[in-house]
């Protein structure tokens, strides 16, 4: 009897000791998205779609390292274990694929799977689908063609030599060919049965309402097998609704609480987490018409902004951003300092003979990454006017502003600047697209048609430099030039606030638009 009791006690103790290692709790996230992001491959809803859905269900050949809060996120091997440019042909990249990986449906991941996924860009291929084409092709501006070298190697050819091409590959997610074929390319059905290689498997979705993911216990990166039992994603575009949902215990993780809700959240014991990340709240400027053609006017505008006041308006949830990148970013360098200097701003406007200097800025009422656009723009208008500008704010909804942005400066010659926040994850998205003539809208992201021979040469040199350290040095110089020429009117950098319940443990907020939710546990 005693022996039995001892054995029983040991068994109970063993279970108790083992318990913390098991998956724990349900993580329920209130997203800012208005609907469930697309689940069948590359997502909509911007980088929030990547953050919560796509990068949990899928992997790219190259992933992002999201394991640290202390240093900027960088790319790392994903479904490719290594990649290198062909020594003989700088437009040809060779990707060595990870062995032993399977999609959630059991389909093997190999070179055929990769080639099939790139077939999504061929209008004649059965896997071509307009939604996935639209949502992913723009991330591959340099892609030309792909070929299978052997089962574990693919070769991708780019249009021009580009040392930055691996960054492009980090946005292209690998989906299962077997699942698409089994569903006879019914893309609506695929949205309800997606199959990737990511750390989470699809479990259940109520369209527009909730998506439930469960851990993929066979995930190839064993360190990233999710530690919670279930991940529930709820779209809640209203900030006050998200806050109330957290405070009432309906969710335990909310995105982007408004600054005025932060004291209330903290007083209720919620944790409000922030961290610097590559986000830029700025204005792209018109280089074809109007006052900003003159560099002195652009510099004057940058000197006129008292960014400390903007940060104060945001309750401290922002960083002053007098340059394109935040300080500490790998490509920051030693750019010119546009510290608030009203005297200098006035002098520059006088020198440029632009007093009052009439400008029109197109702004939105809301939008992804736009922070608090109306009060921020009102404040900036008053600051610019104190320096001698005469500002007209042209207010429109987010969709209209994006349409104006895409069409380029030629369709809005009377607009001198557009306030569209940008993600600066990689050097292409963060910098070169705003500096190249080839990117002049509507061909790319250079809305105001900035261009100079010197900048062109610097971008080309960086693209052609395949030694990462040397390439980054060239990009640092490019950033310094960008700031010196005041290519934008820079405001602030968001610091990505999130509020989480005290029951949520283990979350490390990476310096990125993307986040790793796999280490999180939720106390019962």
């Amino acid at each position: 009897m005693i022996r039995f009791a001892l054995l029983h006690s040991f068994a109970v103790a063993a279970i108790l000791v083992a318990a913390p290692a098991r998956a724990q709790g349900v993580l329920t996230v209130a997203m800012t998205a208005g609907a469930i992001p697309v689940t069948g491959g590359n997502p909509d809803q911007g980088f929030e779609g990547f953050r919560f859905v796509a990068l949990n269900l899928y992997d790219a050949l190259i992933n992002w390292d999201l394991g640290s809060a202390d240093k900027p996120s960088v790319i790392k091997p994903g479904l490719a274990t290594r990649w290198e440019v062909d020594a003989e042909d700088k437009t040809r990249w060779l990707f060595t694929l990870r062995e032993g990986v399977k999609f959630h449906d059991g389909c093997p991941f190999d070179a055929d799977a990769v080639v099939w996924n790139f077939g999504r860009y061929d209008e004649k291929a059965p896997q071509w689908n307009p939604q996935q084409f639209a949502l992913s092709r723009a991330y591959l501006p340099n892609y030309a063609k792909i070929e299978k070298v052997d089962d574990k190697t693919v070769a991708i050819t780019t249009k021009i030599p580009s040392s930055l091409f691996p960054y492009e590959m980090s946005y292209i997610l690998m989906t299962s060919k077997c699942r698409a074929e089994a569903l006879k390319y019914d893309w609506a059905a695929l949205a309800g049965q997606p199959s990737g290689t990511g750390p989470y498997r699809f479990d259940r979705m109520v369209p527009n309402e909730r998506l439930e993911l469960i851990p993929n216990k066979e995930y190839w990166d064993t360190k990233r097998i999710p530690k919670q039992d279930r991940l529930v994603l709820l779209p809640m575009p209203e900030a006050s609704t998200r806050t109330a949902a957290l405070l009432s215990g309906q969710v335990n993780f909310v995105e982007a609480p408004t600054p005025d809700a932060v004291p209330r959240l903290k007083s209720s014991g919620m944790k409000v987490i922030t961290n610097t990340y590559p986000h830029n709240w700025a204005y792209q400027l018109n280089f074809k018409n109007g006052a900003f053609k003159d560099v002195r006017v652009r510099r004057a505008a940058n000197y006129a902004l008292n960014r400390a006041d903007i940060v104060e308006l945001l309750g401290g949830i922002a960083l002053e951003g007098p340059a394109n990148y935040p300080p500490g970013a790998p490509l920051y360098g030693k750019p010119a300092s546009y510290k608030f200097d009203l005297v200098k701003a006035k002098a520059l406007l006088k020198e440029a003979n632009c007093v009052p200097c009439k400008i029109t800025l197109a702004i939105s009422t809301s939008g992804s990454g736009q922070m608090q656009p109306l009060p921020m723009n009102e404040l900036i208008k008053s600051q610019l006017e104190a320096a001698g500008f005469q500002v007209t704010l042209q207010v429109m909804d987010w969709n209209a502003l994006l349409a104006l942005t895409r069409a380029g400066v030629d369709t809005a010659p009377n607009v001198d600047g557009i306030n569209v926040s940008r993600a600066l994850l990689d050097p292409i998205n963060g910098m070169t697209r705003f500096m190249q003539k080839a990117q002049w809208a509507p061909q790319g992201g250079n809305w105001g048609h900035y261009g100079s021979d010197e900048a062109e040469a610097m971008v080309k040199a960086a693209f052609n430099e395949f030694d990462p350290a040397k390439r980054d040095a060239l990009l640092v110089a490019l950033h310094e030039k960008m700031v010196d020429e005041a290519v934008m009117l820079w405001g602030v950098h968001d610091i990505n606030p999130r509020a989480i319940s005290p029951k949520v443990q283990g979350f490390v907020q990476a310096q990125s638009w993307f986040q790793d939710l796999t280490p999180i546990t939720v106390a019962k």
Binding site: A138, A188, R210, T241, A244, G249, Q250, W398, T405
Partner: protein
């Protein structure tokens, strides 16, 4: 009667067509791009052309409209640009969710509104009557004037956050797929949105009822009824019967309003109904969803008006005589 019903149903065709045309034009007059939701900001011109062609947005607007009407006439509303799900699934799914709110909000607003309006109009003069009248008028003004999304937020703060009596948002613990208003746990999710949505109709119906009842009470036949020795309750019954057609017309409109959900209220409660769907479709310029939803809601209005007309004819012989 059958001919009347058939004729009224036929009226729905030009109304639906007109509403669709106006909606279609408004969407295109407004700045923005229907493909915005799927195209990244840096999509180049060539890519945009490919996607436009694939989604059918490369054709001239009149052709797009005729194509849409033709498909809609065959029951095919197309696919949502954002989700690629059938618009009919999106619209009827959202409408079913709003219906769950309306099932409770409609009787609540009708009973409370009509009750308050009748009470205000029928309470005998004197201090109590004046107090009652002021209470009802105040309630009516508040119902009509207070922004209901604001009221919704206040209700959430008080009853969900501070008192923790009711859930703040959503449609049950597992979404609308598993929602049942017959389950006590799920029923709790209905309380705040139903009350918030009912406030505006309560105000309007109370005000209309009060005015209609007061008007009828002033008519000669009421004096005759009293002279015949009928009790006050019997008089009120006759008054209400005579005031009912006007009240019904207003209630019909309010039913249509409630079925349309509320673009402002439903998002406050993250309720996945027709108001939320419309709001999202407007923001995304999801033209197929917008057109499908507005057409269906217009038909709901037309049907509601038809039912109201039939009910009016049933209870009022003057209407039957035309």
């Amino acid at each position: 009667m059958a001919r009347t019903i058939l004729l009224r149903l036929l009226y729905a065709l030009p109304i639906g067509l007109g509403v669709s045309l106006v909606c279609f034009m408004l969407v295109y007059i407004a700045p923005g791009d229907p493909l915005q939701t799927v195209l990244p900001p840096d999509a180049n011109a060539e890519m945009i052309e490919i996607v436009k062609r694939a989604y059918g947005f490369d054709k001239p607007l009149p052709v797009q409209f005729v194509n849409w009407i033709w498909r809609a006439a065959h029951g095919d509303f197309g696919l949502s640009i954002a989700t690629r799900r059938a618009v009919s699934l999106e619209v009827f799914g959202a409408l079913a969710n709003t219906l769950q709110l309306a099932v409770f909000a409609v009787p609540l607003s009708f009973l409370v509104g009509a009750g308050l309006g009748t009470a205000a109009a029928c309470t005998p003069p004197g201090p109590v009557g004046r107090a009652m009248d002021r209470l009802v008028t105040g309630t009516a003004v508040m119902g009509v004037s207070v922004p209901n999304y604001w009221l919704g937020l206040v209700m959430v703060i008080v009853f969900a956050v501070e008192l923790a009596w009711l859930p703040a948002s959503g449609m049950g613990n597992n979404g609308s797929d598993n929602f049942s208003a017959f389950r006590a746990d799920d029923l709790r999710y209905l309380v705040l949105p139903v009350f918030t949505l009912a406030m505006v109709p309560v105000g309007i119906i109370a005000r209309t009822t009060r005015a209609a009842v007061l008007e009828v009470r002033g008519q000669d036949f009421v004096t005759t009824l009293r002279a015949k020795g009928l009790s006050e309750w019997q008089v009120v019954r006759h008054v209400l019967k005579n005031a009912a057609p006007g009240m019904l017309a207003v209630m019909g409109l309010q039913f249509g309003y409630l079925m349309g959900g509320s673009i402002l209220v439903e998002p406050v409660f993250a309720w996945p109904g027709s108001g939320t769907l419309l709001g999202r479709a407007i923001v995304n310029r999801d033209v197929p969803v917008l057109q499908g939803a507005i057409l269906v809601l217009a038909l709901v209005f037309v049907t509601t008006n038809l039912v109201v007309d039939l009910l009016q004819a049933a209870i009022d012989p003057r209407v039957r005589r035309g």
